[in-house]
């Protein structure tokens, strides 16, 4: 399939150069800053400047981000789980302990996309955003480590901590002014020379961490602590969005001095994020993704393992995050697949009309790429992708 796919792709692009006026039913939601009802089943176009601020290019799945780059716009389908998350976020209140939502679903059903839509929703509602691209980066992709001076036995991760703080700063530009108005609770003595005094803006902690990487891990803890405190006092609402959150209870590749692998509870950043998940604070929402990549081998295409929360979080993690609301992401329905199909047709992403090219044999012409715009092609794309959003997108991109 693979080598042929490449050839077929170029052919299809060549064939599909003919322009076609498509007046499809492309419903775009109207953008507004107030909390609106999110209508599931519609396409939603994100403003490019906003997407840049929210760092969508790195947070979305890489292949999807690449395709959006090609098409020149960020259009996603708003689906049921997004609406569910939004309705849960509406409940958040200063008296209510933070609401914990777990997105779970089979591979490729849109957990990460839903998470990013929720982040965008929080942006529109002027929430503070703590977004982690993948918890696996804290446990498996640790480039440099140093022992913590604050708590004995903890392991700091300066590079990831700096990245988290930078990302925090970038994503919260819309509430940065509010954040500067919020003041610290106590004196923070980072080292002998560096300290942040009481009653200073909490953004100073962020700046401190970015400028001094060896302090960054502690700064992350401090900023999280301040955010929780201010959220409790109803100064602002906080969305904590953690992709692959079950990796916080998974295995790590960080080695201790005795060359054994450190448990995740020894990693400073993991501990900070776990504290953010704990529900001892109010006025916030924690959105987690239970993802199979912690336990499953991505290259093993035969094994079908479970993707349910208890399996992925494990007993310890499950008991930690309980009580939570599981939100399932599922495969497309036929109408959703049609919406995406019509969008691709209108963007000329699916170009070939029918298989009337004499230079190719018939059995090749029967492949979906040669009749993508015909009724038969629409059906074949739908069933060959098994209504799975990831497979559908890959199949429409013909690779």
């Amino acid at each position: 399939m693979k080598p042929f796919g490449r050839l077929a792709y170029t052919t299809a692009r060549r064939i599909g150069t003919c322009k076609r006026n498509v007046t499809t039913s492309r419903h775009f939601s109207v953008e507004s800053n107030v909390q609106t009802n999110i209508e599931s089943g519609t396409l939603y176009e994100m403003d490019l400047t906003v997407a840049k601020q929210l760092n969508m290019k790195t947070h979305l799945p890489s292949q999807l981000a690449k395709q959006m780059d090609t098409l020149g716009e960020i259009v996603t389908l708003v689906r049921e789980p997004t609406a569910e998350v939004a309705s849960c976020m509406r409940v958040v209140d200063k008296h209510l302990p933070n609401l914990r939502l777990v997105l779970w679903g089979a591979f490729g059903t849109g957990k990460t996309v839903t998470l990013n839509q929720a982040v965008h929703h929080a942006y529109k509602n002027n929430w503070a955003i703590v977004n982690l691209r993948s918890a696996m980066e804290l446990t498996r992709r640790v480039k440099e480590i140093e022992m913590s001076s604050f708590v004995a036995g903890r392991i700091n991760d300066p590079s990831n901590a700096v990245a988290i703080l930078q990302n925090f700063k970038q994503q919260n530009q819309h509430v940065w002014k509010t954040l500067t108005d919020l003041l610290t609770e106590k004196d923070y003595e980072w080292s002998k020379s560096e300290r942040t005094l009481k009653e200073k803006p909490i953004t100073e902690i962020v700046e401190m961490g970015i400028s001094a990487p060896f302090l960054a891990s502690d700064c992350v803890g401090a900023i999280f602590r301040e955010l929780r405190r201010h959220a409790k006092n109803d100064k602002l609402k906080v969305l904590v969005a953690i992709d692959d959150a079950n990796s916080l209870w998974g295995k790590t590749l960080v080695k201790r001095a005795d060359r054994t692998y450190a448990p995740p509870s020894d990693l400073t950043l993991v501990v900070h994020f776990r504290r953010m998940i704990a529900n001892d604070w109010t006025n916030g929402c924690v959105l987690m993704v239970a993802d199979k990549k912690e336990v499953a081998d991505a290259r093993d295409e035969l094994e079908v393992s479970r993707h349910t929360p208890l399996e992925l979080f494990g007993e310890e993690g499950f008991e930690f995050i309980e009580p939570f609301v599981p939100i399932e992401t599922s495969n497309y329905t036929e109408s959703e697949a049609d919406t995406i199909y019509n969008y691709y047709v209108s963007k000329n992403w699916l170009a070939s009309k029918s298989g009337k090219h004499s230079f190719l044999p018939q059995y090749i012409l029967n492949l979906p790429i040669f009749l993508a715009r015909s009724e038969e092609g629409r059906k074949q794309l739908m069933y060959l992708s098994a209504f799975n959003p990831y497979y559908y997108e890959r199949l429409c991109a013909f690779n």
């Binding site: 609406a83 409940v91 529900n279 349910t308 208890l310 309980e322 009580p323 399932e328």
Partner: protein, 360 residues
């Protein structure tokens, strides 16, 4: 032309003369006689003997005899075949002599034996032919295919019945109570043993598979205490079936069935006594060591109750009464294999508990 002349020269050769004279028959050996009589000079001018050329043996050739016989000059001798009397003495095949009414087949074929065409009176045919319309499958005489396959000619229904009648005196009748009420078997006979016996067409009565013994025990009938039962289940591992509450021991490590059966009984005994032992460390058991996770007294329950209290102040409408229902669902969710449906049910109940409806 050339060929013709060639033949003519050949026909005038001495060899041709000799052949002609031989066919004539009357003057056979004339030159020899003439030589003996001295009519032909026996010595040449050098005084050496005349060496006659060897052309043919000095007896009648087969062609000559045949020629003589065909023209009636010699009589045809007929000889009898030397084994004719033997062949006449031999019986026709037994299958042709047999009478279905008089002969008992189990006497003719009492035990397992390779197929013999002369004994089996059935006109069986076997063998694949390319065109069956033109050529029928091969008949039974001299048919190796029929010899190669196994046969049950010694296991006809009549023979089996005879065997059964013969061994009947060694058997006891099956308990009629168990036939009347099959449910009695579960209570009266908690141990059931299964094994298989294999028969072959050949003479070998052994089969490697016949050693395997499966023993199924109803664990409840062992009347273990609660602690002992838990230990029993842990020791049995995969052999214990939670649903049917039965223990299945399959033994195949020994060479004979009896050894395996003894070993299965031994295993059961050891399991039983080991389960009834109470060790010192058994008292150190904690809540997390239990076989099953309980909702009552769990951290989740305290967290949930706390959350519901706070949710009330936050203006949600939590459904307090459904916490017992949630507890039951939670227990089955934690203690059985997780499925997608169970997780969905978990989400539904949790939303109901917290008072978050899907579409508000």
């Amino acid at each position: 032309m050339h060929r013709l002349s060639h033949i003519s020269t050949r026909s005038r050769s001495t060899l041709a003369d000799k052949l002609r004279s031989a066919v004539g028959g009357s003057d056979y050996g004339k030159s020899k006689q003439a030589l003996a009589a001295g009519s032909i000079a026996a010595k040449d001018e050098n005084g050496e003997d005349f060496r006659e050329l060897y052309v043919m043996p000095k007896r009648k050739l087969r062609g000559q005899i045949q020629l003589e016989q065909n023209t009636g000059r010699a009589e045809i001798k007929t000889r009898s075949r030397f084994d004719l009397m033997d062949r006449l003495a031999e019986r026709p095949p037994r299958s042709e002599e047999m009478d279905p009414e008089k002969h008992k087949w189990s006497d003719v074929w009492p035990a397992a034996r390779t197929f013999a065409a002369s004994v089996v009176p059935l006109p069986v045919r076997m063998g694949s032919r390319p065109n069956v319309e033109k050529r029928a499958p091969f008949k039974k005489e001299g048919n190796l295919e029929l010899v190669k396959i196994p046969n049950f000619l010694h296991l006809t229904p009549v023979a089996i019945k005879q065997h059964c009648d013969a061994i009947k005196k060694f058997c006891t009748p099956f308990p009629p109570e168990l036939i009347a009420t099959p449910s009695l078997a579960a209570t009266c006979l908690p141990i059931s043993v299964q094994y298989s016996t294999y028969i072959h067409q050949g003479t070998n009565i052994r089969d490697i598979r016949s050693r395997v013994v499966t023993m199924i025990v109803d664990v409840e009938s062992l009347k273990l205490t609660e602690n002992a039962q838990e230990k029993f289940i842990r020791l049995a591992g995969k052999r214990y079936n939670k649903e049917s509450k039965k223990l299945t021991i399959i033994t195949d490590r020994c060479h004979t069935r009896k050894q395996n059966l003894d070993y299965a009984h031994y295993l059961l005994t050891v399991l039983y006594h080991e389960a009834n032992k109470v060790e010192q460390w058994a008292e150190l058991k904690e809540r997390s060591d239990n076989l099953q996770v309980e909702f009552e007294g769990s951290e989740t329950k305290t967290k949930l109750v706390d959350l519901i209290e706070k949710a009330k102040t936050a203006g949600l409408k939590p459904d307090e009464s459904s916490i017992t229902e949630f507890g039951e669902m939670w227990k089955s969710y934690r203690n059985s294999e997780e499925t997608v449906d169970k997780t969905r049910e978990y989400g539904r109940q949790m939303k109901k508990l917290l008072g978050i409806s899907g579409n508000n």
